[in-house]
């Protein structure tokens, strides 16, 4: 696979060496996917995996204007990772990652019109991460019930307080038990 030609075709992409993937601006995701699907050299006809990832805001060190390292707040975002393979040419994978602007109102284009395999996976990401895929034909909750309001796979999700005593509590279970106790005392007071 001649990835140089691919990179030259779409200069808006960014190669991420640490994860061997291309960071794609969401405006051109469909265009790039269509190229991968139809180009006779790549023939990426199988979209194998679509995964959502939640990146919370974090501190990162960057080089400031005066050349000294400065600590800066990196805003959190949600990310969708696409793994493309080629069935007909038996090659792959090509990994694309698409990031949302912030975590408040995450919107990404849906790839379902090009690849049917994304249909349920995008619904799952919508259900568990809350990313809205514009252009998806049937974007509903898929695993949780329709009345559910949270996005449970997000890193900052707090599950409902239904702790019950366990004979062998440990670590985070113990922490939940303490929280539960505090909650109960607050309710009583």
């Amino acid at each position: 696979m001649n990835t140089e030609r691919f990179a030259a075709q779409f200069p808006q992409m960014q190669w991420d060496a640490a994860t061997s993937s291309w960071i794609v601006p969401h405006q051109s995701l469909l265009e790039i996917a269509l190229f991968l699907k139809t180009d006779p050299e790549f023939r990426m006809d199988l979209l194998s995996n679509v995964a959502g990832v939640d990146w919370l805001s974090s501190k990162e060190k960057v080089r400031g204007e005066d050349g000294k390292p400065v600590e800066r707040e990196r805003p959190g975002y949600l990310e969708v990772v696409y793994h493309f393979y080629s069935v007909s040419a038996k090659q792959g994978p090509i990994v694309l990652r698409c990031r949302t602007d912030g975590r408040a109102t995450p919107i990404l284009p849906s790839i379902t019109p090009l690849y049917r395999s994304a249909e349920f996976q995008e619904r799952e990401i919508y259900d568990l991460y809350g990313i809205v895929f514009s252009g998806h034909p049937d974007l509903r909750r898929i695993l949780m019930w329709d009345e559910f309001e949270d996005f449970p796979m997000r890193k900052d999700y707090v599950s409902p307080d239904d702790y019950e005593w366990e004979p062998t509590p440990h670590d985070d279970v113990l922490e939940r038990a303490r929280q539960h106790r505090r909650e109960e005392e607050r309710r009583r007071a």
Partner: protein, 205 residues
Amino acid sequence: MDDWLKSELQRAGVFVTTLEWVYNQSRRSSVWPLQFGLACCAIEMIATAAARYDLARFGAEVFRPTPRQADLMIVAGTVTKKMAPQVVRIYNQMPEPKYVIAMGACAISGGPFKQGYNVLKGIDRFIPVDVHIPGCPPRPEALLNALMFLQRKIDRQTLGAAQPLRWYDPMDRAEFPVPACGAHDLVPTHTRAIWKPEASPRPLT
């Protein structure tokens, strides 16, 4: 009637027993389970019904797909919060007398998935359970044992007026409220009449 007279009569071809014994014997020998599998344990339930373990030896091989014809509900597998209303509804649809076996760690308490946000921490929060079988999944022998345990439980039921059977009470419908799926959790999270949260027995620091 003492045992000597009983055996003498039996020798003469007369079988004497109580109505209660006949009643219990016929019910315990034909406990029809509901054909209802939730997760991994359901496969062991099928294996129990298959030739090697042969549930038919205990008269319980007739798996009924409809709750209206079933006596026993084997809750085989993880009950999720999305599934819990359906389980309660199916239980309500079963005719009396009805029994419940909670098969496997998940049905008892949530098991390995207990900390999950969508996993019900035990089906006994919503319906009364007669027999619990631990294991993940329990072996087929364990299910057979649970069935024998249930049969012994049926044997102990009396027709006498001292302890009247619950299901002859017209006021006792043995139907339990079906929880609703709320915005964050099931509403209510448990049925108060049959389940109380256990207080933690040791102080948490």
